[in-house]
């Protein structure tokens, strides 16, 4: 159980960040545990970002991009998809539950979908123990 998890959310500028903005301006309530990092395209998210987030103590990492076919840069979200799937295989080998990493497509008009996603993901992460990764890295035995 993790009452107050830290979740890093990478949101792409054109779709998902705008969608999150819409949730905000519409005064939709959603769990406050996410820390948003805005990138121009979900295709900018490289494995190193996700790994670094976990290393620094994130309990969960969320990546959001434009729906397939709608990417502002045409194919960036597909690059993100491929990296995400390979990352899942990697973190599984590293003993990190796959539930901690999630990828969803959120469009600029999907404010309520975004709020719903954040709540759902936060619940999932709350159900897991706090991530041991940062502690493991800082302690040698």
């Amino acid at each position: 159980m993790n009452v107050n998890p830290k979740i890093i959310a990478f949101l792409c500028n054109w779709c998902s960040y705008t969608g999150a903005d819409l949730a905000g301006t519409s005064r939709m309530k959603y769990a406050p545990n996410i820390r948003v990092i805005r990138i121009m395209c979900s295709g900018r998210v490289e494995p190193a970002f996700v790994i670094k987030a976990f290393k620094e103590g994130a309990d969960g990492v969320l990546i959001c991009g434009c729906h397939p076919g709608d990417c502002h840069y045409h194919e960036g979200n597909y690059k993100c998809l491929r990296r995400f799937q390979l990352l899942q295989k990697y973190i599984k080998q590293m003993g990190i539950p796959s539930e901690r990493l999630r990828l969803e497509w959120i469009s600029a008009s999907e404010g309520s979908e975004f709020a719903h996603l954040v709540n759902e993901f936060t619940e999932t992460i709350k159900g897991l123990e706090p991530s041991p990764i940062k502690n493991t890295i800082e302690t040698f035995s």
Partner: protein
Amino acid sequence: MEEKPKIKLAVYWGAACGGCCVSVLDVHESLFTVVEHADIIFWPIALDFKYKDVEAMPDGHIDVTLFNGAVRNSENEHMARLLRKKTKVLVAYGSCAHMGGIPGLANFTNKEGIFNRAYISSESTLNADKVFPQQHFVVPEGTLELPEFYNDVRTLDQVVNVDYYLPGCPPQTERLVEVFMAIVTGATLPPVGSVVGALDKSQCDECKRKKTDNKLVKEFKRPWQIIDDGETCFLEQGVICMGPATRGGCGVRCIEGNAPCRGCYGPPADVSDPGAKMMSAIATMIDSNDPGEIEKIIETIEDPAGTFYRFSLPGSMLRRKQL
């Protein structure tokens, strides 16, 4: 003319295989040049200087120490700290000291996992009483000591400050001689913390295999699943090669032997985690936009963690598997 004093050189090994010491010896005829300029004052594999001799040295007495091998146990750690104190310029020599090396793969497991496999479940081992090696063991005549075996393998710079890194498994001897002569001739050394004895660019720059811009694949292949034509870039044949994420300087020796690079020279400049970079590149090669097909293609990538971090697991961002 006043004779220039010889450099006081030390070579020491932690959890190592001896290959780095062999690489120092592989100077062959240049050995006479080395001995002309250096006094090797500590080298357990070759010389009779003892740990006590190092302890008796004043701090900073040793000019250059080439420390190879990873930090696996308390003896390795003790010697790393001792040599740091007694040395002016401490070089992490070879992949193990630099990034953890092959012994670093033990960070997929821990002490319990290793002890159970080696001493209990090994098929050739009979150990009904579950005897394990002990740090202190009392025998009728006295007490016997062994170093403590840690759970984690560490790089040298995770234990002490390192001045330079000389990468490779082992470092190509020509690179060692270049670095050594630079020190001897008093050339300006790069800033502390630099990687020396290696190129800044990746293996691809040196590699003689033919490359095109098209690296999309519909599946990845194990090296034995292709008939290597000996000329085409491994990645373009679908075989994972760590070349793009690995520094040059080794003379592309494995690729010359028709084996794909496995990354022993560590990441190029400005990249701290080679595995993460490689994953990014490999993912870009997947020729599909459909999640189901992507999944199938990823299934053909065996052991990503052990392949992309073959030599660099302890030095990687996550450092070890969560157990």
